[in-house]
């Protein structure tokens, strides 16, 4: 079956995200980048529109609109402000992971708060100072207590960590057994023993906050365990598969913003008595950027389609994330180059886009980790190199 048409619902969701982003996000994106203000009101507005639970069942406050609609909406939000889109991506991911792996009481307790904006944002506490690409090396532990678990340790690079109402926290419940000894826990933001450090000073995404977390005898109940003892690693990998479609979409949004800004600029800017766009060197660069972004779009929507169909999509999600983030990196670099000196200033948006895009090749698994995932699937799975 080959059908590239969106459904009416997908088109309307894209339009809603687009109109909202144009009117409510884009005008203040540069200001948030400058001041580092966390987008509290913006997240509440996203919740009201249903964008914090795009692919979550309706009884839990979601829209049950599917993975393709999510990918389209994420693109539109990121196109206007990548910082807002990161908090949106993680919140959707946390909600989806609870729906998939949580018990019904856990889902009823936590998911409606995420989708309604009551929790403001969800956070994903996997990485540690000494365990990034290798999460199995984590040192955070969760030890049995009479009434539940006590979590001790430190987490690193936690998006929205200083504002999140709910965290998924990974910890070793059996330190002797590596990846199989990891479990996941649902921890509310105000739990005593959980504290966050100062915000990282980042290159970009300044409207989103990234903090380290500390767990000092953080006690949670029996009901905090998500998806069974020792299931943590599996849950993390599954969540990251979906998350990668989100980051691929986010990259596409930023890449499109860079292309659109540059398209406008090269038609306006005159040198040597004609617009920049009249030069083939400029045209060819733009054509390459547009082609790569289109390829990235197809990879991303196909990964989302497979997810929506209930088919395996690990490989496709990694390919989409790898290619979209790298294509957008090239698109933003071309955008700055074609803007010349102005592209290096904050007078034009491409400088921010270049900084915002850089991390897309790093978080949710670096480009190198994506290649590992793709190669592992290629060499070991029955699907091999085919589709």
């Amino acid at each position: 079956m080959m059908d590239f048409e969106l459904t009416d619902e997908q088109r309307l969701i894209r339009d809603t995200a687009h109109d909202f982003a144009e009117r409510e996000l884009r005008p203040r994106a540069a200001e948030r980048d400058r001041t580092g203000q966390f987008p509290v009101e913006e997240l509440r507005a996203l919740a009201k529109l249903g964008l914090l639970g795009v692919n979550v069942p309706e009884p839990l406050g979601g829209a049950a609109a599917g993975a393709i609609a999510y990918a389209l909406a994420m693109q539109e939000i990121a196109r206007a402000d990548a910082s807002v889109s990161v908090a949106m991506a993680v919140t959707n991911m946390v909600a989806e992971v609870i729906v998939r792996f949580g018990t019904e009481p856990q889902a009823r307790e936590h998911v409606p708060r995420l989708t309604s904006g009551e929790s403001l944002a969800g956070a994903f506490a996997l990485s540690e100072p000494q365990a990034g690409s290798d999460p199995a090396a984590m040192a955070t532990t969760a030890k049995r207590t009479p009434s539940g678990w006590r979590i001790d340790g430190a987490k690193q690079w936690i998006t929205s960590g200083d504002h999140a109402g709910l965290f998924v926290v990974w910890a070793k419940t059996d330190p002797a057994t590596g990846a199989r000894g990891i479990s996941a826990f649902l921890v509310k933001g105000n739990t005593s023993g959980l504290s966050c450090g100062r915000r990282e000073h980042k290159m970009g995404l300044n409207g989103s906050s990234t903090v380290p977390l500390r767990f000092d005898g953080c006690e949670v109940g029996e009901e905090a365990l998500l998806g069974g003892l020792g299931q943590g690693f599996k849950i993390a990998l599954a969540a990251l598969d979906g998350g990668r479609i989100g980051i691929a979409s986010q990259a596409l949004g930023v890449g499109r913003a860079a292309l659109e800004a540059t398209r406008t600029y090269v038609k306006e800017r005159h040198q040597f008595g004609r617009p920049l766009a009249a030069n083939q060197a400029v045209q060819f660069r733009l054509a390459d950027v547009a082609t790569e972004l289109e390829a990235a779009r197809l990879l991303t929507l196909r990964a989302a389609w497979r997810k929506e169909q209930g088919m395996p999509f690990t490989r496709e999600a990694s390919m989409a994330k790898l290619y979209a983030s790298e294509a957008t990196g090239r698109a933003c670099d071309a955008a700055v180059q074609l803007h010349g000196g102005y592209g290096y200033t904050r007078e034009y948006p491409v400088e921010r886009l270049l900084r915002d895009a850089r991390v897309q090749r790093i978080y949710e698994g670096t480009s190198e980790i994506q290649r590992l995932v793709i190669a592992r699937e290629l060499l070991s799975s029955e699907r091999g190199g085919g589709t």
Binding site: D8, L12, L49, G50, A64
Partner: protein, 277 residues
């Protein structure tokens, strides 16, 4: 209150108009809802809900909003968008814009009003494509209903049997009371945060400016809302045009301007050539 709202699709006003021979070329045109009609949909939703009740689950609806469009099958897209905003159902009348004029559209609406029996026919003041600004007035005339055009504010009377419609006129704001059923056409200020007071929503309630975004929940719910398809002939409308388009020509291309070297030269040109000083 039951409200019938008209919604026309028009070529995106932001797009450049292309000509083919002596007609407008619609190939590759991006069709969008007429902005004033979108405002009318928003106004209809505000008139038929209690926005102060219902909490986070959304406003409590109180009344029915039926959206109608005359056009090709593709207009279903624009109708679906209105349903996603919150309208209850839609009617699509098959018709070709080129074979219609304002008078025929008005007669069609009259037939539909006779079938649907709404308390209010609510319309945008004009469509951005032809800027006729005639259909609402004609329909009111044929229906023998009171009309208030260019509504900037609407306040429902306490007994719910009339509307006080504020119209911005040269000398200030004129308030017209129309008893229902009536025809009202809306102007751009109708989407201001407090332009509409329906007697149910708290009087100090402030809406966000502009037509509401369709929420994802609204979009998914719209999937299940009916769009009834009908045709001009089914409504008993025979084609007969009072207005015939004889020619369409593009405005003359703008001539290039001139650059002046100094203020003195500019003043001299304004005085001697443009003769405006």
């Amino acid at each position: 209150m039951k409200i019938l709202v008209t919604l026309k699709r028009v070529p995106d006003p932001e797009q450049k108009v292309k000509f083919k021979g002596d007609a407008i070329d619609f190939t590759g045109v991006n069709w969008v809802p007429n902005q004033f009609d979108e405002y009318a949909v928003e106004a209809a939703l505000r008139l038929t809900e209690n926005a102060s009740a219902g909490g986070a689950g959304g406003a409590v609806r109180d009344g029915e909003v039926v959206v109608v469009s005359i056009g090709p099958k593709e207009v279903a897209q624009q109708l679906r968008a209105a349903l996603a905003m919150g309208a209850d159902r839609a009617i699509l009348i098959d018709g070709d814009d080129g074979a219609l004029d304002a008078e025929m559209v008005a007669r069609t609406l009259v037939k539909l009003v006779e079938q649907e029996k709404p308390d209010l026919l609510l319309m945008g003041k004009l469509a951005a494509d032809s800027e006729n600004n005639q259909v609402g007035q004609l329909a009111a005339g044929y229906l023998h209903w009171p009309q208030a055009t260019f509504a900037a504010t609407i306040q429902a009377a306490e007994d719910g049997k009339a509307l006080d419609v504020g119209r911005e006129v040269d000398s200030g704001v004129e308030i017209k009371r129309v008893t229902l059923p009536a025809v009202v056409t809306v102007d751009l200020r109708i989407i201001a945060p407090q332009a509409i007071k329906n007697g149910k929503t708290a009087p100090d309630h402030a809406y966000p400016e502009g037509p509401r975004y369709a929420s994802l929940k609204g979009i998914m719910a719209a999937k299940k809302k009916p769009i009834t398809e009908t045709a001009l002939a089914t409504l008993g409308i025979a084609p007969s045009l009072r207005v015939k388009t004889t020619a369409v020509t593009a405005p003359p291309a703008r001539k290039a301007g001139v650059k002046v070297a100094s203020v003195e030269e500019l003043v001299a040109k304004l005085h001697n050539e443009a003769k405006v000083l």
